[in-house]
Symmetry: C2
Subunit: 142 residues, 2 copies
């Protein structure tokens, strides 16, 4: 907070492109409308960076910008709507748990296939034709 950060610095620190940073601001995803220098350049605070980091977590767990904006609005409105914030967070939490379950199941299937191919290749090193050409679909219908 001592001096404030330029958009370029924030881009480096968050990993978001400067384009994305301006885009997020237009989309109302930033807590405040972002302070400006006299010349119109954006000045970000450490708090802004923290907020962005949280938004990145939201995004990368599949929360749409729309929902992030709704959450941002709730926070902007100030105290009194904690119930709503909590509801939003909880619902996203559930969605993340569901995603984790689905991903885990996908991983199970993929790992099964990886194991099968690994085994096949270990066995038939020299000639890969361990299986008759006509049985390819069965091979793949694992």
């Amino acid at each position: 907070m001592a001096e404030g950060l330029s958009i370029g610095q924030v881009s480096e620190r968050t990993g978001l492109s400067v384009h994305a940073l301006r885009f997020y601001e237009r989309e109302g995803i930033l807590a405040d409308p972002v302070r400006r220098e006299s010349n119109g350049r954006r000045v970000y605070s450490e708090d802004d960076v923290d907020w962005l980091d949280m938004c990145i977590k939201f995004r990368s767990s599949g929360m749409p910008l729309d929902t992030i904006r709704r959450y941002t609005d709730l926070v902007k409105q100030g105290p009194g709507n904690e119930q709503e914030r909590l509801a939003l967070l909880k619902s996203h939490q559930e969605s993340v748990v569901a995603q984790l379950e689905e991903l885990t199941e996908c991983l199970r299937v993929i790992t099964y296939k990886v194991d099968i191919y690994t085994e096949h290749l270990e066995r038939g090193t020299a000639e890969c034709l361990w299986v008759a050409p006509s049985t390819v679909s069965q091979d793949e219908a694992v």
Copy 2:
């Protein structure tokens, strides 16, 4: 395989829309070009459904259609490229593991926030102004 399935039946069983099924076929995502009845209608086999189920697993773990098509092509080519198939599967497997890690970290953060709000609300049931309006940003810079 006794009689074969119509696109509508496959849609029901896989959860993909008929639009999506035709789209996937155009995109070369199906093992074979899908048999047709004399009148041009698609006839799917159980194997096709199995293949689609696997594609759904791929998709829902973030594999782009492009990559699914590459994998499909490898299988279409028949035996001899198992190394490549395995490489593709392994790389996707890694990506899924990475996603799981990221999601887990997101969940950690979100759960932390959920817990904080829950605690706050349990404490200050009556008046929600347990925190001064000016400290909202700190509140949110968790």
